[in-house]
């Protein structure tokens, strides 16, 4: 289980086995703008990185968030 999936599961309040690339605000209602900010903050802290405003906005699904991290050299 990836750290990222654990973070998503914890912050959105969904079971770990339901976390996949397609999890996004349109499929999981708890992914609100506040949870989004919380999610980004947790990712920054966990991976010791700083996300640019553009990256914060574009990571609107677990798949996209994974891409953002991969572009920073972090393999999930």
């Amino acid at each position: 289980v990836s750290q990222l999936a654990a973070i998503v599961s914890d912050i959105l309040g969904i079971p770990l086995n339901e976390v996949n690339d397609d999890v996004r605000p349109a499929t999981v209602g708890s992914w609100t703008s506040l949870r989004h900010v919380q999610l980004m903050a947790a990712v920054e802290e966990t991976y010791g990185i700083k996300l640019a405003a553009r990256e914060l906005r574009s990571a609107r699904s677990v798949g996209k968030l994974r891409e953002v991290l991969q572009n920073k050299g972090i393999e999930i």
Binding site: A26, G29, A41, L56
Partner: protein
């Protein structure tokens, strides 16, 4: 097609009853902003019949029943209140959810640009709130409303750096630990309400807005990159029930805020089928 036809018939059968409920919605005065709120517990099967095709598709995308209900309740409340003000059937309210950036139907719901109303919807936990005001010649306005269930876990963590401006971070740091959750959520809902009213949403970093302190009357003090904007927005704190923070932002001429419990409007038990 057959399913659509049946839906329309069922919906129109409700029309007389719905019109009979219109007195539940007082006339919207020129300088008024009505805020309607309700609870997720009121969600009923007939609310789904008020949704259009786009909304039904969006509803189905949610994986959990509670998320589907929350979306349905928000859309139904919007349609019931706007229909009363526009004098049309709730299912006929022309809501457009097209995203301005990508064209997908997940954008902020709005009426046509020439509609005489502006509105904003928000939900969190089991609370749903809708703000509606006049937006017409002589009273041009845009509104944004935000509600959030207060959670102590969030306010103590790093979101503070993403949501608050440097000046606010200093002020926040001087607060006692126990005062921080409420303070954080005050900042959050006030900023979110402003960004919803302007239509910016998350595209604008919240750190660019500096507000008055959480215990002071809400006021936009500065917006980095938009000098002079502060004067055109007014912010009102809203109180619905304990455990929630809520705020309303009005751009344009300020309005008198009236709060309405929508329990009867969305309840209407005589309309529940079966």
């Amino acid at each position: 097609m057959r399913e659509n036809d049946m839906t329309v018939m069922t919906t129109w059968d409700l029309f007389d009853d719905l019109l009979a409920c219109a007195p539940e919605v007082p006339e919207l005065q020129t300088d008024e902003c009505q805020v309607w709120w309700t609870s997720l517990a009121h969600c009923a099967d007939w609310h789904t019949e008020l949704l259009d095709q786009t909304e039904r598709l969006r509803r189905r995308q949610y994986l959990r029943a509670a998320d589907r209900d929350r979306f349905t309740m928000g859309a139904a409340l919007t349609r019931l209140v706007l229909a009363a003000h526009l004098g049309i059937h709730p299912a006929s309210v022309p809501l457009d959810r097209t995203c301005a950036r990508c064209g997908a139907p997940h954008g902020r719901p709005c009426l046509r640009a020439d509609a005489p109303l502006d509105f904003s919807i928000s939900h969190s936990g089991d609370l749903i709130a809708l703000a509606v005001t006049r937006n017409e010649a002589g009273a041009r306005r845009a509104v944004g409303v935000d509600v959030e269930q207060i959670s102590a876990a969030i306010a103590g963590e790093a979101p503070v750096d993403i949501a608050l401006s440097p000046a606010e971070v200093v002020e926040f740091g001087q607060l006692s630990i126990t005062a921080r959750p409420m303070a954080f959520f005050r900042y959050w809902v006030r900023k979110e309400a402003v960004l919803k009213a302007t239509g910016d949403g998350l595209r604008v970093p919240m750190t660019e807005l500096t507000l008055s302190g959480p215990d002071q009357p809400p006021r936009l003090i500065a917006w980095q990159g938009r000098p002079g904007f502060s004067g055109s927005v007014t912010i009102h704190d809203l109180e619905f029930k304990p455990g929630y923070a809520a705020a309303l932002a009005i751009i344009g001429r300020d309005a008198v805020v009236s709060c309405h419990d929508a329990a009867v409007l969305v309840g209407m038990p005589r309309l529940s089928h079966g």
